[in-house]
Amino acid sequence: MEVPMYRVFFAFFGIAAIIYILVKVKKNKFSEGRSIFWVLGGAAIFLLSIFPKLIDKMSALLGINHPPSLLFLLATIFIIYTVFKLEEDITRTREQMKDLAHRNAILENMLREKRK
């Protein structure tokens, strides 16, 4: 049986993605906690390129007529979840930054008052 080129490509792509993420974590450029999610994403790409029938089976199980739409659905859920997590992080970071800025302004004021 001949394996189509695109499946080979995506299998390599999945592995490359996992390696890329792990290297980033090793270099402390990406948080360990966050990376799990992305490594799982890379693993999913790898698995699906090796066992493409998985998508067909899952689609049949869920009653989806057109299996590729399940793929798009999963990808969309992945992206929306990621964006939501990012927003959550931004909210928290913004609050923390605001608090730091407040403390900084108060400390500066104390310094000025001491110098007087």
Partner: protein, 245 residues
């Protein structure tokens, strides 16, 4: 004698701030002042220095609420008894602070709001603002059963438990108006009003001008109120519920 701090958030108020400071010094000189400079682009900071007013200088622009909260943190750290929120644009009158202070002492309330609508004054009320205030008043009455005639008034005196709470609040609202009043009432704080006079702005423009900005403001406040009500209906009221609008 109670220690009172007057917190004045300022953003590009170089023309108004000298008048505001001299008004306070002439009419309520016993209180301390802290101005919070919200990264003004004009000569506000030089004016404050020339007037010898203690100030906090924020490293970036945070908007009215961010500046106000910095002042409240300062007050909490310095153990003040009361904080008066005072606008830097000359709308609030220092001689009215005494009314707020007397009432909070007399009635042991937590917040006293200086209301423009409790009695008829010659303060000009644009239709939209007036309508907004009416809707917010109604919402407060429906949710908390309290009558607050001027929920958008920033002229308030806060007791220590209140400003301590505000200063530590995660997601202190971008517009601390009816939403915050409802939240504090639901938490069991006592809020009252006293009629005050206010002036027109002398220089510069208000943060609520145009059509889009007030519309966004209304939507954000409604959303904020919705979240507060949901939090109190379905959660432990001691938990800090709120929104990030």
């Amino acid at each position: 004698m109670d220690r009172i701090l007057i917190v004045i958030p300022v953003y590009n108020e170089e023309k108004n701030i000298p008048g505001v400071i001299s008004d306070i010094r002439d009419n309520f000189g016993s209180a301390d002042i802290i101005a919070v400079n919200d990264r003004s682009g004009d000569g506000t900071i030089e004016r404050l220095q020339a007037l010898n007013v203690p100030y906090l200088d924020l490293p970036f622009n945070m908007g009215y609420a961010g500046a106000l909260q910095a002042g409240l943190k300062y007050a909490a750290g310095k153990d003040y008894d009361y904080v008066v929120q005072f606008d830097g644009d000359g709308q609030h009158m220092a001689r009215e602070i005494g009314k707020l202070y007397n009432q909070i002492k007399l009635n042991h309330a937590d917040i006293i709001i200086g209301s423009r609508f409790k009695i008829n004054t010659d303060y000009p009320h644009p239709l939209f603002r007036r309508l907004g205030s009416k809707i917010f008043s109604l919402l407060i009455r429906l949710t908390c059963g309290e009558k607050i005639t001027d929920p958008t008034s920033g002229f308030q005196i806060l007791s220590r438990p209140v400003f301590t709470e505000y200063s530590g609040m995660f997601n202190y609202p971008q517009f601390p108006d009816a939403n915050l009043i409802i939240k504090m009432l639901l938490k069991g704080f006592r809020i009252e009003e006293v009629p005050v006079e206010m002036r027109r702005r002398e220089h510069g423009t208000s943060m609520h001008t145009g059509i889009i900005a007030p519309a966004k403001y209304m939507i954000k406040i409604f959303y904020s109120i919705l979240i507060i009500i949901l939090t109190f209906k379905f959660n432990d009221p001691d938990k800090d519920g709120g929104s990030d609008v």
